[in-house]
């Protein structure tokens, strides 16, 4: 049995279905991330676990005990809030001590624990300061210390980096990871930022409209997205649409409109004639000024029109079109250097291995 088990949570606000049978398990020490656009239900799920939202159905079980009906203060769950929610009228010490004092622990042990926590987050010197005297990054570390000081059964992180600027984000992400790893505490993070999710989580659950669309490791979700929504939420992707012509084991051929036959892998459940989409990641496409070798049979090869080349520092993005279908390529500088001298609108040759394309069923418009 898993450490935390979220079972079929359901919730509606009026006629809007916010949670639609959300279920997942988290093992001890596992870091799970709920990832999705705003309104997908990820925050409601977090609030349901924390006890701030009473769901219409489903339950949350920790170590075999159902939390249903328990108020937040009886759940022993540490939460790091989006704006940190540090108590402004209390010092850093009092903030971290708050949970322990609410548990009526002896003042000496409170003091020891707070001291330990502040040492852990390297802010021992700031014990007597007030939150507004700290930088954003320091506030976050205090919020973390406060959440784990109570030795919670579970740690919830609500958009932990959304208040930091891009540069600090990466730094704090690494720092939080260093703090989390040795604790081995079951952690659920909520974010809308794919990179954050991939960097922190062992397992990512991609949510849309109150449902979990796919769960898996970052690599699984990036490499084998369940549908176009997941593919375009995690990373960039090129999409070709068409009808399935023939299916072989693992590989199928699609008649892509205006492009021609395209071969790509699939995960089963498809039939000839199905409306499908082929997802190709920009970094999986190669480009050159001459057609690729004709001998590699499994490769998709096309003549394309160059739209533009954009140098973005650590990568270069090349936009092309096969007929009317836009194809975006990305790679390092060297990759783009082969196109030197090619003008906008001229022909280039692009190709990708058939196992680099993924066929998914086309979703009905909703």
């Amino acid at each position: 049995m898993s450490y935390l088990s979220v079972q079929s949570l359901e919730h509606s606000y009026g006629s809007v279905r916010v949670l639609d049978h959300v279920s997942f398990n988290v093992a001890e020490g596992e870091r799970l991330c709920l990832l999705g656009p705003s309104g997908c239900g990820k925050t409601t799920t977090l609030n349901a676990i924390a006890g701030f939202v009473e769901t219409d159905g489903g339950r949350v079980v920790v170590r075999g005990e159902a939390l249903t009906g328990l108020p937040p203060e009886k759940r022993n769950i540490g939460i790091m809030f989006q704006n940190y929610a540090l108590f402004p009228h209390m010092t850093v010490f009092e903030n971290v001590a708050f949970g322990l004092r609410m548990r009526r622990e002896a003042e000496a042990s409170v003091c020891d624990r707070v001291t330990d926590m502040l040492r852990l987050v390297k802010l021992s010197h700031a014990a007597k300061r007030f939150p507004k005297q700290l930088s954003g990054g320091e506030q976050q570390r205090i919020a973390f210390a406060r959440a784990i000081a109570i030795k919670p059964a579970l740690l919830l992180l609500d958009e932990p980096f959304s208040n930091l600027d891009a540069r600090l984000k990466v730094e704090m992400r690494n720092e939080l990871l260093e703090l989390l790893r040795p604790l081995k505490i079951a952690t659920i993070m909520v974010t809308h930022d794919q990179e954050e999710a991939m960097a922190i989580a062992d397992t990512i659950a991609v949510m849309r409209r109150g449902r979990i669309e796919q769960m898996g490791s970052a690599r699984e979700i990036y490499r084998s997205p369940a549908n176009l929504f997941v593919a375009s939420f995690i990373g960039e992707s090129n999409v070709l649409e068409g009808r399935l012509r023939s299916v072989a084991s693992g590989v199928a051929t699609v008649d892509a409109g205006g492009v021609g036959p395209v071969m790509a892998r699939h995960s089963g459940g498809l039939r000839s004639g199905d409306h499908v989409q082929i997802i190709v990641r920009p970094e999986d496409i190669r480009v050159g000024t001459r057609p690729a070798c004709g001998t590699c049979a499994a490769t998709n090869r096309f003549e394309a029109k160059l739209v533009d080349v954009t140098f973005l520092g650590n990568r270069t993005v090349i936009r092309t079109q096969i007929g009317e279908a836009p194809m975006v390529l990305s790679g390092d500088e060297q990759f783009a250097s082969s196109l030197r001298g090619v003008q906008r609108g001229q022909s280039v040759y692009i190709d990708w291995a058939s196992d680099r394309g993924l066929i998914v069923k086309k979703e009905e418009a909703q």
Binding site: P71, E73, I79, F81, A85, L86, P88, F98, R146
Partner: protein
Amino acid sequence: MRKYLLPVYAVAFFTFLLAPVLALTIGSLTEANYVSFPPEGLSLRWYMKIFAEQESMYALIMSLGVATAAATVATAMALPTALALHRYRTPLNKVVYLLVMTPAMLPAVFLGLAFLLFYSALGFGGTPLSLVAGHIMIATPFAVSMNMVGLASNDGALERAARSLGASPIMAFRKITVPSISWSLFAGWGFAFMISFGSLEVSLFLSTSTMVTLPVQIYTGLEWSPLDPSLTAVSSGLVIVTLTVLILTARFVKIDRFLQR
């Protein structure tokens, strides 16, 4: 040039409009037996005189007492009301809000008349209780709206954070919410006090010959002798108390925030 036109205009205009206030105050420094501007000689004799006048001192104390009682009761009532209004977003909520605000919206004359008749019918007309009750009524809306501003500017996540750390709803309210909005409690009390202290209308209807508040004292004094400088001196007492409370209150509200948002 254009840059200075507007403020100059504004200063000029309001200085003119406020001139009466200054003229009155300065005029009461006269040595003559009537208010005049410019004053005939300068003295504080009329200010000295009122300390000897029992009625004026009595009215001041009555006004202070009534306003303190009314502001305190109003604040005590305002906090739970504001909490309810802040927390629950039901259609009932809007009705309650309108009800709460009504006394601030309706003409005070009407309210004064209504209180007079109703409290008399209930059998406590003409008692100090009726005077205080009327003042509570007109002061409460201001305390409520100030408390609602306080609650609205309070981050709800703080209370949730306290709950997640093991605080019961009551503990979270006491330890986290109340300290965070304490400024609005003070400011609400201050506004309620000012409203009550300065109110003539309701007092006119509810005061009796033995319960005279300062504004009533000034008004009745005026009917008797409009240019009596001691009247002006008395009304200075009104202004001084009001401004003192206002300044103390403004420290809590941080008037700048309102001015600059």
